[in-house]
Each structure stands twice: as C-alpha cells, then as structure tokens.
Symmetry: C2
Subunit: 494 residues, 2 copies
Amino acid sequence: MSHSTLAEIAKADFKPAAPLVDRELNPHALIAKYAVRGRIPTMAEQLKGTLQSDPDALPFDKIIAANIGNPQQLDQKPITFYRQVLALIEYPDLLKNENVTKIFPHDAIDRANEIMENLVSVGAYSHSKGVLYFRKTVARYIEDRDDHPADPDDIYLTAGASSAVNYLLSLLSNGPETGFLIPIPQYPLYTASLALNNATVLPYYLNEEEKWSISAADIQKVVAKAKEDGVKPRSIVLINPGNPTGSILTAEGIAEIINVAAEHGLVIIADEVYQENVYEGEFVSVKKVLRDLQKIDSVKYADVQLASLHSTSKGMIGECGQRGGYMELIGFQESVLAQILKLASISLCPPVVGQALVSLMVNPPHESHPSHGPFRSEKLGIFNALKERSHKLYLAFNKMEGISCQEPQGAMYCFPQLTLSEKAKAAAAEAGMAPDEFYCAKLLENTGICTVPGSGFGQVPGTWHLRTTFLAPGTEWIDDWAKFHEKFMKEYDN
Amino acid sequence: MSHSTLAEIAKADFKPAAPLVDRELNPHALIAKYAVRGRIPTMAEQLKGTLQSDPDALPFDKIIAANIGNPQQLDQKPITFYRQVLALIEYPDLLKNENVTKIFPHDAIDRANEIMENLVSVGAYSHSKGVLYFRKTVARYIEDRDDHPADPDDIYLTAGASSAVNYLLSLLSNGPETGFLIPIPQYPLYTASLALNNATVLPYYLNEEEKWSISAADIQKVVAKAKEDGVKPRSIVLINPGNPTGSILTAEGIAEIINVAAEHGLVIIADEVYQENVYEGEFVSVKKVLRDLQKIDSVKYADVQLASLHSTSKGMIGECGQRGGYMELIGFQESVLAQILKLASISLCPPVVGQALVSLMVNPPHESHPSHGPFRSEKLGIFNALKERSHKLYLAFNKMEGISCQEPQGAMYCFPQLTLSEKAKAAAAEAGMAPDEFYCAKLLENTGICTVPGSGFGQVPGTWHLRTTFLAPGTEWIDDWAKFHEKFMKEYDN
C-alpha cells in the first residue's frame, strides 16, 4: 500500500490509453436487436421531450405508447386485492395494527398472514427456484387448468418470463451449430438472446392468411434443411397466444408440433404469457396436450422436454414492473436441471415481491370472500375493454385502404399488413428507412401513436407490417389513425 | 392446421429421440461455478430436511446459514421507514384513505406521495435505465458522498448489483483473448460470469498478511504477463470493502490502481456494495478518487472508464430479496453506452419496487421528521451488532489452534486461513474433498453452521480458507464453532 499523496501518485509518467469503442465489444451483443425499444420508440421519447417544453409544438398533445405491452403505463388500474396483499407483506407490522381492519378486507389480511407464515421476509434472498409456498400455489393452478398433476419441484419462479428465456437459451446454446426454431413473426427477445448466445435462428413462418397458424409440415422442412446445413435443431419456441400475431393454437395443432419435437428431441419452449388474454376460442397449454398424448402413448412421448413460461406482466393483471414469472420444466434429465438451477443461483433469486404476485395471480380471492366481488368486476372490466378495443381496431384496419389485418384471437396486439405504393417506398428509401419503418415514423410524427415496424419481429421478405398494442384507453386514437392513414395514402399515391 | 384428433395424431409413426444430457449444453455454462450455493450449502439443505422430519436426529437443532450475506434470513429486521413507503406505493389507494395517518407517520406518507407524483405505477415497465426521479436521488447521494457532481443520466438502476455485473461482463467480453483482472479471493459471481462469457480470468492475488491489500505493482505484472500471452486486459474488478476478505482500500491505494487502469485502458468495475459496512477506517469511492485525480491532471485521467456498483442487499438495509441496485457509468464512449442500454432494454426494466428502495436507501428520512429517530436507532442497532460480532468472531478465530484471521474492516465476512494436519488432508482426500471443503463439511455436520470453502473464492494454491458471514444473531454459535474446532484438531492430530 502506498504512502504517497494523490498529487504524487498523479505525477506518474505514463501515456493514457484511449477509451473503448463499440467495435471492440462482444460481437454477439453488438448484433443483437430489440426493436420494441428501438428507433421508433426512441423518436417517440424525443417528441415527448418536445411536448414537455412546448405543448403546442406538435400536431398532437401526447404520445400513445402502443409499442410495448405495458398496460399500467396506459392507465390500466392494478387489481386491488393483489396490491393490498403486497402492501401488507411489504410492511407486515400492519398485520398487527389495530386499525388494519378499517383499511383492508379480511381476506387480504388472511392471505398476507398465510404468506408470512411461509416466508421469512420479502427482503431475504429466497431459494433460487423461489419460495416453496409460492411454487406450491403455482402447481395447484396448473393442475386445475390442465386436469393433470403438477409438481412444485418442477416450478422455477423467475423475474418475468424474459429471465426464463435468457436462462434457457443460454444453457441450450452450444455455438452456431445449435439451431432454435423461432416463429416469424416473433417477439424479438428470442432472436436477441440467440444473437447474444451465438446460436442459429431457424425461422419458421406463420401462415398469415390462415390466422397466422403453424404448419407442422413446414416445421419438419425447417428441421430437415437445418440438418442438411450442419445445424442441429435443439429447441422450438411456440408463442401461444401469439405475439405479435394474436393467434391461438388448437390442441391438435399443438399435438402435431409435439410429434415433431418428440421425433427430433427438440426442447419445446412454450411462451404462454398471454394465456388469460383470449378473446376468441380457447387457450390450451402445451403441458396439457403433452400429458394427454402421454396417456395415449406413454413410451413415444416419455422424453419430450417442455419449458412452459408464464408471467405477471400480461393477462388482466398487467404488473410488468413487478417482474414476476415462472417456468414449469417437464421431461428434462437431472443433469440438465442441475445446470438450470446453477444459472438461477448465480442471479441469487427472483424478486420476492414478484414471486408473491405470481402466487396471487394463480390463487385469486375465494368466491365466498369479500374481495371476490370487486376482484371479479375489476378483472372483467379490463377484459371487456381489451376485447372491445381489439375488435374495433381490427375493424378499423380492415376499412383502411392498403391495410389488412387478421382478427386477433388473443394477446394484446394487432399485426396488420401494409400494402405501400412505390412512391411511399421511394420516400422511405430516401429517408434511409424500410417502408414499414417509414410508415411508423410518419404515424408517430402525425398522431403521437408509437408502434413498432414489422421488421422488428420478422416478416416474409417483401411484405410490410407493424405491431400495435390495443391497450391505449378510449378509441379516439383509432379515429386519428384512420385520418392519418387516408392522408398518407393520398400523399404517396403513385 | 390439423383436423385429426389427438388419438389419431398420436399414431404417427416415428422413433422418439433421447432427451438432452448435460454434456450437450453450452460448455461455458457447464464450467461456471458458484460455490456460495454449491456443495456445502446443498448438504445444509438436506440436513434441514432431516431436522424437519426429526428434530432430534442431529447434534444441533437448526442450520445457521453463514454461507451467504442474507441478513433478513438471519432475523435482521427491515428498516421500518423503507417498508412503510414501499407498502404505500404498492397500494397507493392508502394515501387517500382517511385512516392512513393513524397507521403511517406523515413523512412516510409525504415520501410516498412524492414518489407517486413521479411514477405511473410500480406495475408499469419503467425506462430501461430506471425511473428518472429515482436516478436523480441516486445522483444527489453520490454528490453528497463524494463532493463531486453526479449526473442522473450516468445512473442505471439494476436488479441488484449482480445484474450490473452480468451486463458489463457480457458486453466487455470478446472471446478468450479478452482478460479481466479479478482479485483472488473474489466473489464468485465474477468468475462464473466470465466462464459463461468465455473470457479469460487474470487473477491478481490480495496480500493476506497485509490485511488483504492490493499491490499496484502486482497488477502491472499481471497486465504485462497477459499481454505476453496474447490476452488483452480489458477490465479490472475492485471489490471494496472486500468480499470475502473484509478489507478496505485507501484513497491512495485506489489512485495507484487508477494509474494502471488509465495506462492500459482498463475499465474499472468497482463493486462497492458494502460501502456502508465499514467497522474500521473509512470508505472512499473509486469515483471520488478518480474525480480528485482528474482535478490534478485533467488530460491524463480524462478517459478512465469506471462502472461503480451499489445495491440494496447489503449495508444496514439488507434487502436482498427486493433486488435493487444501481451502477454509475463514467468515461464511456456514447457508442458503448448505447450497447449497455440495449442490453438493459432486452431485460425490459429492473423491478420497480427495488428501484424505489434504492431511492429510499440513498435518501433517508430528514432529521426534522418523525421517522428520523426510529430510523437512526434501527440502523445503529444493526450496525453495532454487526461490528460487535465481527470483532468477536475475529478474536475467536485467532484463539483457535491452526486458524489465523485478518481483522475484518468492512463487509459481512471473515475469511480465516486454516492450517490443517496431514491426517486431516488424508481424510479429506479419502472423502473426495479438498481439505477446506472437508473442514466445512465437518463443521456443518457437527454444529449446523454452513460456510463456504475458500476454493469457492480462490486462494493461493496450497492454502486453505473458508468464508463465514457474521450475520447470525447471538454469539453462542461462535462458542459452538470453537468447541467443534478443538475436537476436530484433536481427531486429526498427526
């Protein structure tokens, strides 16, 4: 240890080195892309700044953040019962306060007490898989949902579904010879994480004309082609209900994909975070279909490996900022599970309040209890508004010239296709943008509506789309969009 | 989409593939190690299960989890003011409730109101860098601490410090030719994350005899040797106060390391999560020393790149499960910052409640407000207990035959050196363990005290250590340890 002063130390004679520049960084990180917070959302942030300094500077008075599924940013209210219980476990001294019953309903108090009997503190690291009590409630939920047993030991609580995706893709990636079947269009977390992990994306295209459905035959072709190219298909990602497509898979559709997975040993990553956002048809989990198939043929389906993901960020709960989620792991070898647990351990544990929220999400107030009524009506209110707006937006798109949109069955998004004129494409090229990005930029500049170009999710080459949520309250913004669109089409008429 | 039934689909004729085994996984993930939740803690979990089914089965009645710095698991109480504010922002309807003033002090209510004026909801995704209001409070704290300006734009809120480490190491790693100077012993997150990122660890040894100090001359040698070997040193990690060593760096010691970093363009990663756990001497931040040096020579130190990390998990706050933290980034090029922001965006945002807790940690109740008194006495109570136990444990170790321990100046750990007999080493080899692991296993089996062998942190080859926290309440366990040690030394006397 030195006995010199700072002034003496600063006299040392050396030539300082230049700082790092981006091209010296991890090349896999450099190529990762995440459009949901990309160029258009960045433009929106700048416009927001403009509006803050001069509210009259732009042809609109606020930014509508339709780029990201973030319900509570767009005025969706949190569900009261959940927040009551979370407040009580954040400050458990309340449970002993004589005034607590004046403020909280008794079932919220009871639930908080039950949690605190099973939890040392929300401020302590939990087990890396999460608190056992919470995992038990998740297992019960899955049993009720699927009518098949679920084991708390198979449940890993996570910081949202994103963190589960990161663990899984990191662990399953073994260089560019490992391939992951990813739907196109997809949620860009998948391609970003695979870029980071230097694995190969094997795109399988969803069939837009048939409500963005999946063809098992197409998947077989992708697998065969990958093997020809020396890439070993390792995993297939299913997003159901679809993001950004809003499509929903049938049990039979899922079963055909399980056949492909069983034949080629593909780990199925079932991103089922929108399982409560179902407006048309019915959600069936991959786990349920797998267990049904195993009942029919216990040998053939014995070794199918499935990770199914859920989250507190979507559904009617919409608690993105709390970072709650879980994955259920089925069919993995112990040696693989040990590695997954190790990766989870390195991050110590998922946020404990988020864990509690997962448990609340899967275990709502009981019908006979006072919170049930308000809970039900809050949830239904959110559901009905989402369903109504999804339908209105779908109808509005299909009335706009040059836009076609599949009816959203689930999730929070429309992914309409844009047919743009040569003149619009030329203007886009001149602006240094792809045609869909150009359209999104113009939409933003004229209406304040912030969306994400289709290129951020992937699309059949030569087609152009955009993704918009239908979370923004009211329907005026839909009218504004229609007016903008008419003007745009006129301006860029060939 | 298929029109067949599941039974028909299950008739498909294919040979199912075998499931994955660990050797097919990401080889970099396979070699990553994280001993803090490794073999000994896993044994402890099993023993805990044994005690649950038969409380009399073992020579102790509970497991003392001294393997991990998890204060609230060991009965440390959360600080009331923090939890009151968190409860109010989890359930902001409380702020409008007529009974709220009967339960919460007015400064907790005021603080919660102030937060809610700057936050749409703890349930909404925030900006990827975190909520601007929270980042502003962090910047103010740093200004007060260092007596130098801090910019909220330089602050990135994170899910604990671990998540900051993961971003930084992932982005800075460019294959095995990129080297990271890591102190030995170290907190194993660093080597685990570098293993995952396939970068090269350049160990620099701390000087045990001199209170685990760092020698800048040693670091120069490590840099020179790496360059000879074709490895480009990219970054140096400083852990101050030290984990697992408990040592504290002086301003001059830091300045000499900054010289090395400036000369070789090393990014300094300053892990300063124990900055409030200081029992002897004084904590000086790397940022302060860097700014002081820049005042002396603004040219030579202009391009020093520093990431300094802090967390809500340690200190007297000890809120590990809330996953709050921040990093301050200084001196990086815009092109590099853009990449860091992109990585943060892919994970969407850090837990918002954890962000709020960071803001509370750096902005305690004002002296003139009602919460100040209780806040101060709670914090002091925790601090004094830690300081007292650290000293007792240190004294106890140095009374034990064959154990020597440096006096902990800070953090939450002792890292005593074990001198073990040949007979003990032979018994360890027979049990398939390293000598330090064997000692930790015997300690656990006999007393219930769970520690981590020195090998988990790194040590000079041929020396043996262990890490223990001094968080467990009371001092009886220290007496139990001394009794066990005497027995152990007798049993394995040569």
